[in-house]
């Protein structure tokens, strides 16, 4: 089999698409690590919640007919809803599970984060069951909720979560265009452009806004930043807000691209995005973007030589190898050991 240039370029574009997902999620890991020097284990689940909120919104828009009359508006609203859903989840998680542990021993916030990750996953999976259990509470013959409320609540929760795989409508279609022999689908192009724009926005926010300045100050030294009059809790909370919002965008995008979503969908992209963050140098924002794209391309190239089932093993091995040989990552500033 000869070397096929056009299929190689198609694969590269494929890698960049996957890399976009990783980069967007990796940014959340990296930003949180920057201000808290902790890995937000629940980040993959925040991404998952974004996908679920997005899907629920989209289905309602299909119901009211907006999706048919104006597809762009519907997709826009879906993205906004997914982003807001993920952002709210992220801020809540920080407030409930991490803030009380700000001064605790090293392992405590990490274990709390693992707990939060399991909790969120199970929460989405069990939503309909919990709704049914709660609304069917009865004392003797007296039921707490009338039957119509019960069916409404359970119906709503089944629409929203549950253990079964849910499917996004095929928004992007399968269309595309050709440049010579190279076939590019619209979906990949849209994802690439949207991710790059989002990341540019983030870069300028962190580089030039007041909040960005405060975030960098907190990342540098929390105590000194606080002496300079920066409200640390607020900055951390907003960092979670922005990082989770990016994960929400990635969640909706991934739902629209791969169509299927499930409560466990956050785990593998979460670990890979973490790998990407480490690859680029955790705590470093351009590094996370670079790491995301590098990992996406690396995976696509790896699959050329190995069976596809080994794709995940390749990523995990990359992670282990970087941590052994270059724990600071490509653009790294923070040592794996030093800031622990």
């Amino acid at each position: 089999m000869g070397f096929d240039v056009s299929s190689f370029i198609e694969q590269l574009i494929n890698g960049l698409t996957v890399g976009s997902f990783y980069a967007l999620i990796a940014l959340g890991y990296s930003m949180v690590y920057g201000v808290l020097t902790m890995i937000n284990f629940a980040h993959g689940e925040i991404f998952m919640v974004g996908a679920y909120v997005g899907l629920y919104t989209m289905n309602r828009l299909v119901d009211v007919g907006l999706y048919d009359s104006s597809k762009i508006l519907a997709v826009g609203i879906t993205f906004i809803a997914g982003t807001i859903g993920a952002a709210i989840t992220g801020v809540t998680v920080e407030r409930l599970a991490y803030r009380p542990l700000r001064r605790a021993a090293r392992l405590a916030p990490l274990i709390s984060a693992i707990g939060m990750s399991i909790f969120l996953q199970e929460f989405i999976r069990l939503l309909p069951n919990m709704g049914e259990a709660i609304t069917s509470i009865s004392i003797g013959s007296f039921t707490l909720f009338p039957e119509n409320i019960q069916t409404a609540v359970v119906g709503f929760l089944q629409e929203f979560g549950g253990s079964r795989v849910k499917t996004y409508p095929g928004v992007f279609g399968v269309g595309g265009f050709d440049i010579g022999d190279i076939h590019i689908t619209y979906s990949r192009l849209i994802i690439l452009i949207m991710s790059v724009l989002t990341m540019l926005g983030l870069y300028f926010l962190v580089r030039y806004s007041r909040l960005g300045k405060a975030m960098r100050a907190v990342a540098e030294d929390k105590d000194i930043a606080s002496l300079m009059g920066i409200d640390i809790d607020q900055v951390i909370s907003r960092t979670f807000l922005i990082g989770s919002a990016l994960a929400g965008i990635a969640g909706v995008m991934m739902g629209m691209f791969y169509l299927q979503i499930r409560p466990t969908m956050g785990f593998v992209p979460g670990i890979k995005a973490f790998t990407a963050a480490v690859l680029g140098g955790i705590g470093n924002i351009p590094g996370a973007m670079l790491g995301g794209y590098a990992l996406g391309l690396g995976e696509v190239i790896g699959v050329q030589f190995l069976p596809a089932v080994y794709k995940d093993i390749v990523s995990f091995s990359i992670l282990v190898l970087i941590l052994i040989f270059k724990p600071t990552g490509i653009l790294g500033e923070v040592l794996a050991e030093k800031k622990m």
Partner: protein, 350 residues
């Protein structure tokens, strides 16, 4: 609320920390466990299975406790060693390759193999701490599971390995749950004895020193490289042992038996019981493995509850229900530092 909850536990702990009270309690529990399979009651088979399974988790918990609780290395891929032990026995004592080696020969081999894998994992992660270690070990656990699923020629993939040989003891074929119930009981006693001796030895003190402050430990002459690898090896050895017993008991194993949730379960029971505390591991196993099995109607909510418990425990009582004293002091060092000197003496004397 948080204070009152803690002081209630403190009082229960005190009640049982008097030597006589403790031995009476241990005697009653051990006696009950020993006679349980002999009593004839309706759900006997179910109970024997559940308690036997709990025992298996106590073994795993004791192993991981060495790594997480004593040496302070957060290992999220513990299931890998369990899987290695189980597959080692299944491959060497089943019709898959038509190799049939005695359980008692394979058992130490499986445990050693897992221990060796522990060292292999330990070497690259020597320089890592905390979060990084957690992620890499998590990745290692997943890699092993994926390999087991995908190396179809060796492991028969997701079809699993079936028809695994039963162990023989003096001509008696060990195949019922009651047999394994007693076998696991004996291994639990051995594991408790070994880990407790380790905890109180020079090795245990080095682990704890390392956990408290790695740099300081190194400064006073603890060879941290050696002790880190040793803790990984001991933990993995015990995990491999558990895996081989599991494979022999079940008679068939599948890659799905070795998913991330096993690691999470074991980690949870250690944390709920109290990191570094051996009675904590036992209590934690009964609380997290036996209870959900009895409360069948809540079985679905098990993981949801675990996740919630981890967060709540970290905030309200990071030292677990039956804390080891040193660990408790470490986790509350900050509070103690802020408290007046009088309070330190009362805490220390309790």
């Amino acid at each position: 609320m948080k204070k009152r909850f803690s002081s209630l536990l403190e009082r229960i702990n005190e009640r049982f920390s008097s030597p006589i009270g403790r031995w009476v309690l241990i005697g009653i529990v051990v006696g009950l466990i020993l006679i349980l399979p002999m009593i004839n009651f309706q759900q006997r088979a179910f109970w024997v299975r559940v308690i036997g399974y709990t025992g298996l988790y106590i073994i795993l918990g004791l192993g991981l406790n060495v790594v997480v609780g004593l040496a302070g290395l957060l290992d999220l891929g513990y299931v890998a060693f369990y899987a290695i032990g189980a597959y080692a026995y299944a491959l060497l004592a089943s019709g898959h390759f038509d190799i049939h080696i005695s359980f008692w020969l394979v058992l130490p081999f499986a445990a050693l193999l897992a221990g060796f894998a522990g060292i292999l994992l330990g070497i690259p992660v020597l320089r890592m701490r905390g979060d990084y270690l957690a992620i890499v070990t998590l990745g290692f656990g997943e890699i092993i599971r994926m390999l087991v699923t995908n190396l179809t020629d060796l492991t028969n993939g997701s079809q699993g390995l079936i028809g695994i040989d039963s162990p023989y003891l003096f001509g008696l074929e060990l195949k019922t749950s009651t047999h394994f119930y007693y076998m696991i009981f004996i291994f639990v006693i051995i594991a408790i004895f070994v880990t407790q001796r380790l905890d109180r030895s020079r090795v245990g003190r080095s682990w704890i020193a390392m956990r408290e402050d790695e740099d300081a430990a190194q400064m006073v002459g603890v060879n941290t490289t050696r002790y880190k690898l040793l803790s990984f090896a001991v933990g993995a050895f015990i995990g491999g042992l558990g895996g081989a017993i599991f494979a022999a008991w079940q008679g068939s194993i599948f890659p799905d038996n070795f998913n991330l949730m096993v690691s999470v379960n074991v980690l949870c029971l250690i944390i709920i019981g109290g990191m570094g505390s051996i009675p904590g591991v036992v209590i934690g196993s009964f609380a997290l493995i036996t209870l959900p099995d009895i409360l069948r109607q809540f079985a679905d909510y098990r993981l949801l509850l675990f996740g919630f418990l981890l967060v709540v425990m970290m905030i309200a009582r990071p030292e677990g229900f039956i804390p080891s004293r040193r660990r408790q002091l470490e986790l509350h060092a900050e509070e103690l530092a802020h408290a007046g000197p009088a309070e330190i003496t009362t805490e220390g004397g309790a």
